[in-house]
């Protein structure tokens, strides 16, 4: 499996936003930047078969921008509570193995510090290795069989600025 770990793009500020944190949308800048990032990812000639996203609006919107760029159908985007900021990564991996074990090219979209810790567990067996994803940052892992532990090799880690440059 090739796993892309993607942090949601820039959302509107929490201060001044009246709704629940889970309902904060991407800002105008966040949308534009994510569009450019998705273009950059496309330039890398990668394949995506499935996107799993946190149920938070800023993640769903990030996933939608990616889905559109890669011509994914509705049933190729899947929302899971295990990717919410309060979710558990071991349960996410159980879910992937249970429902999507045969899918080759998977992206997960969510939040920090959850995603950085998950990447650290997968490549180093330790949640505290210092992998930090910026908003719109992406890393690619190559995995034989995904499990909650050391099972992956990091192939690349790109900042949002680098992805935007690739897309231009």
């Amino acid at each position: 499996m090739i796993l892309y770990i993607i942090r949601h793009a820039i959302a509107v500020e929490a201060t001044g936003f009246e709704g629940d944190d889970s309902q904060r949308p991407l800002s105008g800048k966040g949308r534009r930047k994510m569009q450019a990032i998705a273009q950059g990812l496309k330039e890398l000639e990668i394949q995506l078969d499935l996107i799993l996203t946190s149920p938070y609006l800023r993640s769903i919107q990030t996933a939608q921008i990616l889905a559109k760029m890669f011509d994914l159908k509705e049933d190729q985007v899947f929302c899971t509570d295990h990717l919410a900021p309060s979710g558990y990564a071991d349960q996410l991996i159980d879910e992937i193995n249970g429902k999507f074990g045969d899918v080759q090219h998977v992206a997960i979209v969510g939040h920090e510090p959850y995603l950085g810790n998950l990447a650290s567990v997968l490549i180093a067996g330790d949640p505290n290795a210092s992998i930090v994803l910026k908003k719109g940052g992406i890393c690619r892992l190559a995995i034989d069989k995904i499990l909650y532990g050391r099972c992956a090799t990091m192939e690349w880690l790109l900042s949002p600025a680098q992805l935007v440059e690739i897309g231009e």
Binding site: E43, L44, S120, I123, A124, G125, D126, N128, A129, S130, I131, V132, C139, A142, R150, A152, T153, M154, E155, W156, L157, L158, S159, Q162, E165, I166
Partner: protein, 166 residues
């Protein structure tokens, strides 16, 4: 402090006629050309190295020279360390850097598996981190203080193929 790590470019294969001495294998023409592109990207990503530190092997030295030219760093100021050899001593390398090259921006050129272990020690404190460094791959780490226990942040990791698209 930021450390930019670069694995040397494509060199002549070990044992190829005329290149029996592993320490003296040069970059191939393709290796030189690709490394030129990688160096150009590295320049755009911003480093103004205070020091370029390289393995003394020819393929690493040539890589360091290509980077030095692009980054406007004097070729005769390139430093060398035996601890960067392929089976080098990443633990001792960290000590050497803290002692001698404690600068704002450091570019390090070397080999696998030494570079990968060095990144692992800095980012996790142990040797377990698994990353794929190809010939001409680049990786940036940042930290206030590069001690083994103090964990450095892995900022980015670029394959040469991706570099040429930036």
């Amino acid at each position: 402090m930021k450390i930019y790590l670069v694995r040397h470019g494509i060199a002549y294969e070990p044992g190829e006629a005329g290149y029996e001495d592993d320490t003296q294998r040069p970059l191939t023409d393709k290796g030189r050309e690709r490394m030129g592109k990688v160096a150009h990207v590295l320049k755009r990503l911003g480093p103004k190295p205070d020091v370029i530190l390289s393995s003394p092997y020819l393929r690493a030295r040539q890589t360091a020279e290509i980077l030095a030219k692009e980054l406007k760093y004097k070729k005769d100021r390139i430093e060398f360390s035996e601890r960067l050899l392929p089976a080098g001593q990443p633990e001792l390398l960290i000590g050497e850097i803290i002692e001698k090259y404690n600068v704002e921006e450091l570019v390090v050129v070397g080999h696998e598996p030494c570079l990968g272990l060095f990144i692992s020690l800095l980012a996790t404190g142990n040797q377990d981190l698994s990353i794929n460094l190809k010939y001409g791959s680049m990786c940036c780490l940042s930290a206030d203080d590069f001690r083994i226990e103090r964990r450095a942040v892995l900022e980015w990791l670029l394959t040469p193929k991706i570099s040429t698209k930036i």
